[in-house]
């Protein structure tokens, strides 16, 4: 069970027009693994995780998520998307719905569960990200950190097998970063499978099973955090870590 493969990418190639954003990416994620993805801007981190739930289509290679292979059938995409939760840098809460409605929408529409059931589950997850008392508010009435926690709860309501995070804290004021990282750490400790694009190296050290470094659309290097930070192998990785850690 612990060794079950949840995501398997093989030889994935992705072009935007003439520009190749992913070059022959292989990646295997097992159930319960926590992976941190880092690398310079434009290296393809977002593209990689967006391919996993098919926000982007790939041109070559294969991606299997929880046993479902992507072909282009709508059915398959929808099934996979329900298994994969995603949290964006800019929260992307729906501004015209309350926090509670944000969390109930997808379970009702996509999972077709009843309203009462959806509400119960939404309230449960909102409690879990410690924001239960804000359920009736609109996103604009919350701080950035609170909004991001709602976004996490919203994704959890679909009971995903894996969570993808795309720089979840980089749009936040420094003071609010911690509350979101704490929520994510809690999630990790509960055993959620996670792939997380972030530059918060403290979080990576504390939580990640593996750190993966990307540059120019390729996976350059990966390893357990300790080894990765202490003793990076590739010049490109060293330079990057130097820049990122220099001013902290």
């Amino acid at each position: 069970m612990q060794d079950q493969i949840l995501i398997e990418m093989k030889g994935v190639q992705k072009w935007y027009g003439g520009y190749q954003a992913l070059r022959n990416v292989d990646l295997t994620v097992r159930r319960g693994e926590k992976i941190v993805l880092c690398g310079p801007s434009g290296s393809g981190k977002s593209t990689l995780i967006r391919c996993i739930n098919r926000l982007e289509a790939i041109q070559q290679g294969s991606i299997v998520v929880n046993g479902h292979r992507f072909d282009d059938s709508i059915k398959a995409i929808d099934v996979v998307r329900q298994d994969v939760g995603m949290v964006f840098q800019s929260f992307n809460l729906f501004p015209h719905m309350t926090v509670l409605q944000n969390c109930m929408l997808a379970p009702i529409r996509a999972r077709r569960i009843s309203k009462t059931e959806a509400e119960a589950s939404a309230r449960k997850y909102l409690e879990r990200v410690r924001i239960g008392e804000q359920a009736e508010k609109y996103p604009a009435q919350l701080s950035g950190g609170q909004q991001q926690r709602v976004a996490i709860a919203r994704a959890l309501c679909m009971q995903p097998k894996v969570m993808l995070f795309d720089e979840p804290t980089s749009a936040l004021d420094p003071e609010m970063v911690k509350e979101v990282l704490d929520t994510m750490t809690g999630l990790a400790n509960d055993g959620m499978t996670m792939i997380c694009v972030t530059h918060e190296m403290g979080f990576a050290r504390q939580v990640a099973d593996r750190v993966i470094f990307m540059a120019e659309g390729q996976i350059i290097e990966e390893g357990v955090p300790d080894a990765f930070f202490r003793n990076p192998q590739h010049a490109r990785t060293k330079q990057f870590l130097g820049e990122i850690l220099a001013h902290h």
């Binding site: 926000l55 998307r81 994969v84 729906f94 015209h96 929408l105 529409r109 996509a110 994704a155």
Partner: protein
């Protein structure tokens, strides 16, 4: 033989005003329905469909409404499709309004941040749920001021229905002016009637716009 502008004449203008309102409602309801289809097709992501819709919009935005009504009314008749004047005008206005409203709503749909659609997709929502629950509710808010603005244009534009025989407000004004020979007074009254009809809408529209702008700043 030449009556002065008095109560019966004013009553006649009011009856014209009724037609103006009725024609506007028909055109607006028809235009909204067809405009929604146009907007959705225009943003469907299929290049050929989008181009066809673009040309459709280009044609109806690029020619005078007057001539469009003419061509629909008489052109369809030549093809053997003899519609009543009301149906013909309703079709003409609907088609014209669908082009303008379609374009307004396309802009609004595209103004909804891309992240909203992506978040909806990531949650496993289908196209219909995405549109109905996420994109359109936000787009409508964005599009409301422009839509109201177009409604005002439509009210004024219905004066062109006169060419196929509708005695709406502008035409009624011409008729009364032709009977009373007081065109200044008559057109003054007609202008005031249009103003009373249009101005509250315009005012509402700009208030909505100001509110949206404020909300956007937050």
């Amino acid at each position: 033989m030449t009556p002065h502008f008095g109560v019966p004449e004013f009553g006649f203008l009011l009856r014209g005003l009724q037609w103006t309102v009725l024609l506007t409602l028909v055109a607006f309801v028809g235009g909204c329905t067809a405009g929604l289809v146009v907007a959705l097709l225009r943003t469907c992501g299929r290049t050929t469909v989008e181009w066809i819709v673009r040309i459709y919009i280009g044609i109806f935005q690029g020619t005078p409404l007057l001539l469009q009504l003419f061509v629909v009314y008489y052109g369809l008749a030549l093809l053997g499709l003899k519609l009543s004047a009301f149906v013909a005008v309703a079709i003409g206005f609907t088609v014209n309004a669908s082009a303008f409203l379609g374009e307004i709503w396309r802009g609004a749909i595209q103004a909804v941040p891309r992240g909203q659609t992506e978040a909806a997709m990531a949650l496993g929502l289908h196209y219909s749920a995405r549109m109905r629950d996420i994109v359109l509710p936000q787009a409508i808010r964005i599009a409301l001021p422009a839509t109201i603005g177009y409604l005002v244009q439509l009210i004024k534009g219905t004066s062109l229905a006169a060419i196929v025989g509708f005695i709406e407000l502008a035409r009624a004004g011409q008729i009364v002016s032709n009977q009373t020979y007081q065109p200044l007074l008559v057109f003054g009254v007609v202008g005031a009637m249009y103003f009373i009809l249009c101005w509250p809408l315009s005012w509402w529209g700009s208030r909505m716009e100001a509110r949206l702008a404020l909300a956007g700043q937050r």
